[in-house]
């Protein structure tokens, strides 16, 4: 069974009911919001597959995930700021780096074999995660 078939199966057998779709949306939303609020990121990585399950294609899922994460990040940023967690020297240097890197990354995306990049990214993620969890 390939991906298109799985999506079709999900759409016709699971998602045809509006109430079920809404329930799935609420559940996914709670999970995305909790992780992103608790860990300060990572919600987008959950939002993309959730939106795909709701019937969006790959490009739509990636684009719409930003729409989901933006209000969450604003809400969380306000709370982190109010709790005095913002260090302005880190924020300025790191933040400007993020913006520059973000623009460059968006351009580079079309020029790199994203399959290999994704594989490397996953391996780095596991390694960093183990260090974080143990250290």
């Amino acid at each position: 069974m390939n991906k298109a078939n799985i999506r079709k199966f999900v759409q016709t057998n699971v998602m045809n009911n509006v109430r079920k779709k809404r329930l799935f949306g609420i559940t996914a939303g709670i999970l995305i919001g909790s992780i992103n609020g608790l860990l300060g990121g990572g919600g987008g990585m959950l939002a993309v597959p959730a939106l795909t399950a709701l019937g969006l294609n790959a490009k739509q899922s990636h684009a719409t995930a930003i729409l989901v994460i933006l209000p969450i990040s604003i809400m969380s940023a306000i709370i982190y700021l109010a709790a005095g967690r913002a260090d302005w020297s880190v924020l300025w240097s790191g933040g400007i780096g993020v913006l520059l890197g973000g623009a460059a990354g968006a351009v580079a995306l079309s020029k790199l074999d994203s399959g290999v990049v994704r594989l490397l990214f996953a391996i780095v993620m596991i390694a960093v995660g183990i260090r974080q969890a143990i250290g």
Binding site: I96, V98, G101
Partner: protein
Amino acid sequence: MTVLWFFIGILGGLLGGMGMGGGTLLIPLLTGLGGVDQHVAQAVNLIAFVPMSVVALLIHARNGYVRTRGLTPLIVSAVLSAGVFSVFAQLITAPVLKRGFGIFLVILGICLLTAQIMRFIKKKRTKNKNQSPAG
């Protein structure tokens, strides 16, 4: 330190711009290499995400990739749970939060790795299928 934070920001931004969840690596890099407190690193990611995603969202919306129909329950529940868990995050100590983040990274990394390996296998299989009738 400022220069280091700047380059970490670029690296995180690059990954984010390529749609691979930049924050998931920006946060551990800031804490592990940059010596930044876990809560501060999370705040940096949340705040830096806002301007970057506004720009990205405008571009994606113009290209017609953003879907909004039926997403209200997901977004509302996500924002509410983000609020609750952002407050909860302030009550947890940095080492515990760091460990939780590490576990999340490992799980996410394994999921990504599995998905990517499956994609490679599928690609190879379709390639072989296309070649066999010719031979």
